[in-house]
Amino acid sequence: MTGTKAVVVACDIVTPYGWGIDSCWNGLLSKKTAIGRFDRFPTESFLTQNAAVVPGLTYGQDKSIVIKMLKPLLQKNISSIPEDTFLILATTTGEIDKLERHVLNETTDAASSRPDKLLEKILLLCGLGSSGIVVSAACASSSIAVAHAAGMIISGENDCVIVVACDSVSEFVFAGFSSLMALDKDMAKPFDRDRNGLSLGEASGFLLLMSELRASRENRSVIGEIAGWGLTNDANHMTGPSRDGSGLAMAIRKALKSADVSEKDIGCFSAHGTGTIYNDSMEIKALKTVFGNHKVPVYSIKGGTGHTLGAAGLLEIIIAFESLNKKIVPPTVNLCNIDNEASGWVSSEPLTVNGSVTISTNSGFGGVNCAVVLKKY
């Protein structure tokens, strides 16, 4: 390790609230959800007809939904991305709508849906000549990618890394989650006693990380620091989390240790908070295991944005930095009746952040857990 810090110098997102970080942040603070009825494909036979989609994107045409999100986003920000930047793409299904079109009407080559093909496109969109990698770890894909980007910088392997994350609402994914009975018939209500599943969402975004030294040399304004992380696996079940939250608790403890901070330093906590009965209960158990009686304000953005799968971690890290820098804990959208288990931890109202450190966590299929410690700079 070099002793250098990994700092975030640029970021941007597109979410179901619209283009840019402000639209997402203001949407969450307005307590209005972006989840609603959508008409991309027939949904009558599924559990719900609701999802959170980015307004104005047309489905089923030549370009995939993720490219329709990423192209304007990256082109707008290309001047901030140095040519020697290493790229990490985080996604679960990428351009899966291309595979759908191949099976439904044979208008595309199915292999064009592969993540390595998307990686090549994003290298071009970012104007990068160097190589990159695709990281995929279910719903923790982009938080792990951000952690590893920081790891590459702290270890001196690279001094500039961009993490690009994306996933879309597709028939492929929607039908799958419906078959697993994982969707709320209405809308996701994280930490609510009447929660009954997640709502699917879509988003894309990027986070540009640099070594503190390079950021200073290039006069970059710093958004915050990726100070530490913990990665674990439940080793328990393919689609359900460990009921006692022990895997997530271990990830949070590892993250605190790696950032050299204590639980008392944490000002607020960005939970995965999908709105499924088992996930939210597991998370609160993990929090109680780590924090004991020291209750920190906890929030989930998924009642507003829906569950954006492989993009969720990056989106939540960006919102967590907004939260730290604005000193506001965003409200948990769609939370009406707090579950007894979560009482005193979550709120439907915005709160003040006390402190300069926060944690963002994600968990996913296969039992994967990721906790990332973020510091105000």
């Binding site: 849906s113 592969r114 695709v134 995929s136 078959s179």
Partner: protein
């Protein structure tokens, strides 16, 4: 220093390990599962093995061979601070196609959950993590070039960054798999190990999978 403690490999018809020089033939993945149980490479049956996709079956079996090669024991009730990094050329492309074609053939009204769970590139790592009790980091990475050497380099870095104490690095597709157990050199152990840097240097010039296995066998015999 990071070293390689064990290597397991599977081709279309053969399987083996490098340090213990195990080698055998098999007909299909079901018979491979039986062979490995019979030889105590698999300590107990893999639950639901029949419903796994082919990549998950290959991954589980090559990990069992590599752990056996490294002398690492496991049981149904033990969990380990071991991470798992997987790679291949296609992600879960074949499973994606199988799942969506099945869904369309059912009139686009109902999907099969047991096919859907294999539409994540990380699922072939998750199945063995559950079976072997791996509690370390779990992820899939698609590298642009030199898949196996890049994977070994990346897994070694994860140990150096103290993300976990040991890493399983596995490349698996429907027809072939090679798995490495990486860890820090233990000067008190008498178990034979291989230099990570030497193995990376040796195989980075080879693209053919069978040739990589032959080269690994030569290194193991030294």
């Amino acid at each position: 220093m990071i070293v390689i403690k064990g290597i397991g490999w599977i081709t279309k018809t053969e399987y083996g390990s490098i340090i213990k020089k195990l080698q055998g033939n098999y007909n299909d993945l079901k018979s491979l599962h039986s062979h490995l149980q019979h030889e105590s490479v698999l300590k107990y049956a893999i639950k639901n093995f029949g419903r796994f996709d082919a990549a998950s079956k290959m991954t589980c079996c090559s990990i069992a061979l590599a752990l056996n090669d490294a002398g690492i024991t496991y049981s149904e009730h033990m969990k380990h601070d071991i991470g798992i990094l997987g790679t291949n050329n296609n992600g879960c492309f074949e499973s994606n196609l199988a799942y969506f074609k099945d869904y369309v053939s059912c009139g686009r009204t109902i999907a099969r959950g047991n096919l859907f769970i294999y539409t994540l590139p990380s699922t072939p790592m998750a199945e063995p993590a559950i079976y072997f009790g791996f509690q370390g980091p779990l992820l899939y990475i698609k590298f642009q070039h030199n898949q196996i050497p890049s994977m070994l380099h990346y897994a070694g870095k994860m140990i150096l960054r103290r993300e976990t104490s040991k890493m399983i690095a596995v490349e698996a597709s429907e027809e072939k798999s090679v798995c490495f157990v990486l860890g820090k050199q233990d000067n008190t152990s008498t178990m034979k190990t291989l230099s990570l840097e030497d193995i990376i240097d040796t195989i980075k010039k080879i693209s053919d999978f069978d040739e990589i296995v032959i080269m690994l066998q030569r290194k193991g015999a030294m």
